[in-house]
Amino acid sequence: MTEKQGLVGEFFINGDVACAEGAISAGCRFFAGYPITPATETAERMSLRLPQVDGVYIQMEDEIASMNAVLGASWAGVKAMTTTSGPGFSLMMENLGLGVMLETPCVLVNIQRAGPSTGLPTLAGQQDMMQARWGSHGSYEIIALSPSSPQEIFDLTITAFDLSEKYRVPVLVMSDEVVGHMSEKVVMRQVAPESLITRRRPEVEPEEYLPYRTDGSLIPPMAVAGEGYRFHVTGLTHDERGYPVMTAEAQDRLIRRLVDKIRVNKADIIRYKEIQVEDADVIVCAYGITTRIAQFAVKLARDKGIRAGLLQLITIWPFAEEHIRELSSQAKAFVVPEINYGQIVLEVERCAGDRARAILVPHMGGGVHSPEAILEAIQEAAR
């Protein structure tokens, strides 16, 4: 069997498989999941590859169990991941919150499909984007990335693991059925284990260790089970000792830290790509598969003499507020094509204020936009 590392080379594979390989290259050695179209292929690939790299694959009885098993594995010191789609994503919400509260590094991939409810299981959607931010109850901040190709999903899955380990927070990879099921060339680079980020370990003796003491960095070093640290962690609001403390003061301290550790580090977390934005009057703001159609629409617009540009959001959450604000003084409008009836456009609108319009190009799901639909909106915006 293959060596105990990620594959290296050029491959013609689909997004789901690329995601699995990205995880393995990132050092993921535990996967717990449940079959759901269109994410199943990732689970199948993991079930094949994890035993080859001395990892563990387990198919749990439902998505709720999967999310919990991933948290448990992370607390045993292993990089862990699960993948799902809309209905499973909803089920995982409560325990995503547990992951946030316990500050557990892990990756949750949502290969989105059209909803709500059972919707169109085999067809595209980008309809869980707000749910990614607000889906679990309580006040928290999360990191979500959005790939637009099998190559990107390979690379961003590695980034997702790095960010989750660095910030001790579950990271979401919000892909979609088209990226998941399309086959394209993926270049899998050699990923040296030293180049990967792993959670900071405690630097004190077990007797002195407090699970949530941060020494100012906002991110506490993480002990794992079985090393003699004898820590207690709970989903209840807790103090530095990890003990439940049922007061408003403890809640204030904890929530501010959980949220601030992401907000304060936005510059490190937020990523985007820009094409011809420097002189653009109309900026198409897209993410996921829609980026690729938008790119062509921008080219068509330029051919017609419109100064259009493309902003691909790679990090969706935390949202690139400052950048949109900045661009809103330059452009007269943003065109936001998404495979939903308006989610990320609300963020763009909020950040653009009354300096620039935000025009939604919706697609209810089940397919992708046509370049003409986006071009029409660009032309309307340029008027």
Partner: protein
């Protein structure tokens, strides 16, 4: 020169988070004695406490995780077992113990319970069964006896309860026992046995809940509950779990019901993967 009478009892102090005592459980609550048995069992079964992880869910019994000076996880309602599954599979050297209540393990967590038993994952589950949801004030649960009074069955429970030994045995558990809090010495032995036995071990402990379940069901004091167990319990080791139903008018059958050898999840996983690796190596040589 004084010494403690139960040598193992010296262990209770070192495994308790003394800075959190006294605990929050009510006067007469059965959880304390069960926790004591578990703590004594750690040394009795010669478990390395640094490799022991306690995982609990939500509810009064769920608070156990917060009082033990071990790696402990207080997780979400019903999900202690899958969390423990992840811990165990990622680090098979860990000894994982799930300590939770009847509502948490059997109602919302019921699906996870039967799957863990089916897999025969090496894990010990201690289910403190006080027949209701105590933390939230005494609502009915899936183990409440028929016609029991609870805050959500003011006219009497109109559902049949689970027979937990039967359920877990049928699902595939390797070790199944039921005791009451009064059978504290047998519980000591049972927990120690379960901890050392590979595979899925399930111990149900019938426990008093005086301020809610007890008060609503003619057991206003904890001592009333313990006397009820004294009168009604029948020790039948090796009994067929299907005869272990609990009814307000009948006996409480206690004992060790199941103690069998079955390959564990890890045994099976390793076997399948090793065979595949051998085949792959053989193929490569050809």
């Amino acid at each position: 020169m004084t010494g403690t009478v139960n040598e193992e009892d010296a262990s209770i102090a070192k495994y308790l988070r003394q800075d959190r005592m006294p605990h929050i459980w009510c006067s007469g609550c059965g959880i304390g004695p069960v926790l004591g048995c578990f703590l004594r069992a750690i040394d009795r079964a010669e478990i390395d406490p640094d490799k022991l992880a306690v995982i609990s869910g939500i509810g009064c019994t769920g608070r156990v995780a917060g009082y033990v000076k071990l790696d402990s996880f207080h997780t979400t309602h019903g999900r202690a077992i899958p969390f423990a599954t992840g811990l165990k599979l990622a680090n098979p050297e860990l000894k994982v113990v799930v300590f939770s209540g009847d509502g948490d393990l059997v109602a919302i967590g019921g699906n996870h319970l039967i799957h863990a038993a089916r897999r025969n994952i090496d894990m010990t589950v201690i289910c403190v069964n006080n027949f209701n949801y105590g933390m939230t004030g005494g609502q009915v649960g899936p183990t409440a006896p028929f016609e029991a009074r609870t805050t959500t069955t003011p006219y009497g429970n109109f559902e049949f309860p689970f027979n937990l030994p039967y359920l877990t045995c049928a699902s595939g558990a390797s070790y199944v026992a039921r005791w009451t809090v009064l059978h504290i010495r047998q519980l000591d032995t049972s927990i120690a046995e379960a901890l050392t036995k590979p595979g899925f071990s399930f111990i149900e402990v019938i426990a008093p809940c005086p301020p809610v379940y007890g008060r609503m069901n003619k057991e206003p004091e904890g001592t009333d509950s313990l006397h009820y167990y004294q009168e009604r319990s029948v020790v039948r080791n090796g009994a067929d779990p299907k005869d272990a139903d609990i009814d307000l008018n009948g006996p409480i059958v206690v004992g060790k019901f199941v103690d069998r050898q079955r390959p564990t999840l890890w045994d099976n996983l390793n076997q399948v993967v090793s065979k595949a690796k051998e085949r792959a190596t053989a193929k490569a040589k050809v």
